[in-house]
Amino acid sequence: MNYFNQSLTSIHKQLVDKDISAEELTNQTLKNIKQVDGDINAFLTLDEDGALAQAKQLDENGIEPDNLLSGMPVAIKDNIVTKGLKTTAASKILENFTPIYDATAAAKMKKLGTIAVGKTNMDEFAMGGSTENSAFKITHNPWDKTKVPGGSSGGSAAAVAAGEVIAALGSDTGGSIRQPASFNGVVGMKPTYGRVSRWGLIAFGSSLDQIGPITRNVADNATLLNAIAGHDDHDLTSSTKEVPDFTSTLKKGVKGLRIGIPSEFMAQGLDDDVKKVVNETAETFKKLGATVDEVSLPHTKYGVAAYYIISSSEASSNLQRFDGIRYGRRAKNVKNLDDLYIKSRSEGFGDEVKRRIMLGTFSLSAGFYDAYFKKAAQVRTLMINDFTNVFKDFDLILAPTAPTPAYGIGEDVSDPMTMYMNDVLTLPVNLAGLPGMSVPAGFSKGLPVGVQLIGRPYDELTVYQAGNAFEQATDFAKQTPKMGGNN
């Protein structure tokens, strides 16, 4: 089974009709992954025995006819902890770490009957936008194997795009779900901050991180968010707001919807083809009955600086826990405890993680806190105010997801500044805590291009509603990569 031209609904029907058992489906999924993944490298760890045992059990219990996720094989990003299944965050410092509990999002999926077949590659601790910062392997874009899959959830997005699984979980701190979704021609949602519990998500920037679904289409994405959303006593920043059925407005259309395009997001640095895709998307929305106008988010150009100060500061604090004592890699030949900390961390972290830890430590250090961290936190307030102002008169923001389509492997890694600037269009959504989804919206020289739909806080419904209307009116989401006859 490859998952091209499939959806949760179509596979679920086969399971319910007993055309295929969960065990057969899982077996075929693993077989397909083995065939395809040698070229893609989306997976870090496969759990064949665990997945098949779970599938057998589900077959015995019976596939639940009203539950689209019952018996469904999925993939999980490797910074989301999974009980008994190695979880590394693509870092050498965690190369032998086996969690003793499931992250809430993973546990909720499992409870509904999804089968986690494996853990996907990513930039180490989710720091990066190409998955090249993984300590273990380079993931290739299924549309063109010389290109990056984006990141940091590059493994999850590539696995879905390559038809290895129908859905995957990713995480998004500054664009890490949406940008790889754009690069791989799939749908990726970063929910509102607080919508999904972060319990068991290996922390990077705790005021920014969210787990979200990556799927082939909008309806599947909404189904998955239904599964993972909701308050969790283990994450006290998770919202107690009622969780609506995210599939309930999919067919509502966009008539009368007021959509704004931020002029700052369409400014210089944006690839011509990407700009064209956004403008064509706007035309499609107009034809469907929405109004589209230009809007302004004046502090956009300060987003990269504010984001990298805040996220690095939070990271420098969060990553203090990796000290080689209780779990993870411990350096050999140390003189004393302090030496053990320093050697374990220096050997265990990659260069990009070290850079972020040092940037954060610097921004928080005595004498620099006011000029850097506090200033960034104030600019964050101004950026939130910009969004609040736009949402007084508009229901949704339409924007490019990334400034360019997928770029070549090895092109961007040498200069961290170039890499950071690539996040300019996604990170404002994290700073403001808003829901944002990338949907396939066109192509540039054979590579997929996504656009971003950004909603008011906790208004994923409107995002899904517009995303689905667009998807139904176009056929971009139905395109699949040609992967050298391997599929």
């Binding site: 509990y101 607080g194 006290l236 502090h299 003189k335 030496d339």
Partner: protein, 103 residues
């Protein structure tokens, strides 16, 4: 060689973060960090007088819960993750080594 952060400062920051940057790597990290901190400084253009800083965008405020101990009964699984154990404890090296600077 740089304006925003010196090699000595990078060394100091690395020490605070319990990281060791080898001398031959120091210019590489210093140049990169200098460039990024240069970008950070563009924030000084923004008038933030009287603007409250945002540290979180959660809609939850001061959530309280009872402080109740919970036994997960996973002692062995926890110890299995530890690099060095003895008699059910996690072993660490000498805390104070008389001979020992880190250099």
């Amino acid at each position: 060689m740089t304006e925003k952060i010196s090699e000595d400062q990078v060394k100091h920051v690395a020490e605070l973060a319990k990281l060791k940057i080898d001398d031959d790597q120091l210019p590489y990290f210093t140049t990169q960090l200098d460039k990024i901190i240069g970008l950070f400084e563009t924030l000084s253009e923004v008038d933030t007088d009287g603007v409250e800083p945002t540290s979180s965008v959660t809609d939850q405020v001061n959530v309280m819960r009872e402080d109740i101990a919970d036994n997960w009964h996973q002692r062995q699984a926890l110890l299995d993750n530890a690099p060095d154990t003895q008699d059910g404890y996690i072993r660490v090296p000498t805390i104070i080594d008389e001979s020992g600077s880190n250099e």
